[in-house]
């Protein structure tokens, strides 16, 4: 079935005649006979739009999503409210359907949005240079490693265990290509162990990697950690939650050379993990080592203000094997959602959001901590997420997956289990609070946890049993 094409049979005939070909088949004659597929693709035939909608809708109905349950899932992606203006504006053809702005005269809208985005991210991170976005958070962290290796000529990367496990794993993956090694520094009281960090950082260290707030939700003392790294000439990379920067001291003020992170909380929906955007900000010193697109101000021949991609000689299409990064297509539309969301919140709204999160999260940690069997993992300050350890009401060990399943059956996604990434926290979950989770939701979670932790079936009996996957929701 032909969809989304316009040329009819007579059109095709006329076109073939203009080409001087007898058949469309003839146009493929450069493909050697023995390499031709010679059969139809083994895929179903095309369907009508209504059938496609129904099929995709049916698939979507078998996912338990944040509209259908009370979700406290976080761990790097958060169920913030995406304002309606974000959807309305980013779905405009003029933003949705152009390519990368290679022709600036007809791309001023996208370029200006990039410039505004860069300004906002620079404000948030306290660093003067921002690019126009990378793919997403963890690969942005790995990109910061590439910059640090290039800038220092060193190959040791020291990462806090509070760095998102996906960021640490991605950095290890990339290190096979960079020829670098990743050394991990543990946590103490919920934050990076400063003494261990000082021990790990040496003259071979290209950079340290700290997450703010860290994966367990704790606010790190970035300034002190940065000072340790600087003493040895290592770069300071801070992976940060942009929403937390509404209230926290900016990475730039804390001495970061590079601030990167996952931009999803700014105007981007969850989308089961993407697309969102990664951001990348740095000191002026690094401007020519930056990865990705950067928009800059320019003036046209008549003196009008305009914008253009700038410092393009860094990029792959010009510098090729010497490029600062291989990235081409990034996440422009998602970054646009970010700047629209930030404008919508505005200077005051952004701070109010941060304050609301801090207060609700503090309330939640206290409220859940009062439930028998729930114990905060640490008492470090937190912004919008915290970790708790679970016990059966009777004090016995619980099977975390069973607890989460029973909560889910009661309409609550209680949190993100830490066991896969932190074996030492097998019985812990990460609980995230956004402005969409009211006090009533938090109280509801406390009640559900209280009920579930008193149930006999959550207790671990003898040897750990492999969990049996349960029925799909609805």
């Amino acid at each position: 079935m032909s969809r989304y094409t316009s040329n009819t049979g007579p059109d095709r005939d006329a076109m073939l005649e203009a080409i001087g070909a007898r058949s469309i088949e003839e146009l493929f004659e450069d493909i050697p006979e023995d390499l031709r597929l010679g059969r139809p693709l083994d895929l179903p035939d095309g369907r009508s739009e209504t059938e496609v909608y129904d099929r995709l809708s049916e698939l979507a109905s078998r996912n338990a999503h944040a509209e259908g349950e009370v979700s406290f899932l976080g761990a790097g992606m958060y169920d913030h409210y995406v304002p309606a203006v974000v959807d309305a504006l980013t779905s405009r053809s003029e933003f949705l359907t152009p390519y990368t702005p290679y022709q600036p005269e007809v791309s001023q809208g996208g370029l200006q949005a990039m410039f505004e985005f860069q300004t906002a991210m620079s404000e948030l991170t306290g660093l003067p240079v921002s690019n126009a976005a990378l793919y997403e958070g963890p690969s942005a962290v790995a990109s910061a490693a590439y910059l640090a290796i290039g800038a220092t000529g060193r190959k040791k990367l020291v990462a806090s265990r509070g760095l998102h496990p996906h960021s640490r794993e991605t950095m290890v993956t990339y290190s096979a290509g960079f020829g670098s090694e990743v050394v991990e520094v543990g946590l103490e009281g919920g934050i990076t162990d400063a003494a261990a960090l000082a021990e790990a950082v040496d003259e071979e260290t290209a950079a340290i990697f700290i997450q703010q707030p860290n994966f367990l939700g704790s606010v790190e003392e970035v300034e002190a950690l940065a000072a340790v790294a600087k003493e040895k000439g290592a770069q300071v990379i801070v992976a940060c939650d942009p929403v937390a920067l509404s209230v926290l001291k900016s990475p730039g003020e804390c001495g970061a050379d590079v601030a990167v992170g996952e931009g999803q909380p700014l105007g981007n929906r969850l989308d089961y993990g993407g697309p969102s955007f990664g951001f990348f900000c740095a000191t002026q010193e690094h401007i020519r080592r930056m990865p990705g697109r950067i928009a800059g101000e320019a003036t046209d021949v008549d003196g009008r203000r305009g914008f253009a991609l700038t410092l393009q000689t860094r990029e792959q299409h010009i510098r090729r094997e010497k490029a600062t990064h291989n990235i081409c297509t990034a996440q422009a539309l998602n970054a646009l959602a970010g700047i629209i969301h930030l404008s919508w919140l505005g200077k005051r709204g952004f701070v109010e959001l941060g304050e609301l999160l801090v207060r609700r999260t503090a309330y939640a940690r206290e409220r859940l901590g009062a439930v028998v069997g729930v114990e905060p993992l640490h008492d470090a300050p937190v912004v919008r997420e915290f970790a708790v350890r679970l016990r059966a009401s009777g004090g016995g060990r619980v099977d975390t997956a069973t607890v989460l399943r029973l909560c889910a059956e009661r309409g609550f996604a209680a949190g993100y289990p830490l066991g896969r990434d932190y074996p030492e926290y097998e019985d812990c979950v990460l609980v995230a609070v956004t402005e969409r989770r009211s006090r009533r939701d938090i109280d509801g979670l406390a009640d559900v946890l209280s009920e579930v932790l008193s149930m006999e079936e959550v207790e671990m009996r003898g040897q750990a049993q492999a969990p049996v996957p349960e029925q799909v929701a609805s």
Binding site: R288, Q312, T313, I318, R319, K322
Partner: protein
């Protein structure tokens, strides 16, 4: 940019670089042809003072808006001075490639390498070919 010129007092390298040799020191830069081919220079990245340069290898980079070009050392030696003015105002490399647009001064490790370089006529012949 003025008209092409290739002063007689300079020695030339086939990669479009020049050297002004004074005893065991020399000044390096790029030729009129090189700056013209590159277009308006927007950035000049000099090497560090004290670093060693090797004849026939790249020691610096110049950039236009949409191209990057290596700058090759016509002779070997140690960088004693870099042209901060050209770094600040890279347009000097276009407007005065043999004057204010010079790039580095070098203490030569082997002044006899100068004998292998081209004179103005030979370099212009190379351009013509």
């Amino acid at each position: 940019m003025a008209d092409p010129s290739y002063p007689d007092d300079l020695r030339y390298h086939a990669e479009h670089d020049w050297a002004r040799i004074e005893g065991d020191t020399a000044t390096f830069g790029v030729t009129w042809y090189a700056q013209d081919a590159l277009g308006e220079v927007v950035f000049f990245e000099p090497p560090e003072i004290g670093s060693q340069v090797q004849k026939d290898t790249a020691y610096a980079e110049v950039e236009s808006v949409k191209a990057v070009s290596d700058v090759y050392a016509p002779m070997s030696g140690e960088i004693t001075e870099v042209n901060a003015a050209a770094q600040e105002s890279p347009e000097l490399i276009n407007s005065a490639p043999y004057g204010e647009g010079w790039m580095v001064k070098v203490k030569l490790s082997n002044p006899s390498e100068g004998d292998e370089l081209l004179d103005s006529d030979a370099y212009q012949q190379l351009l013509a070919d």
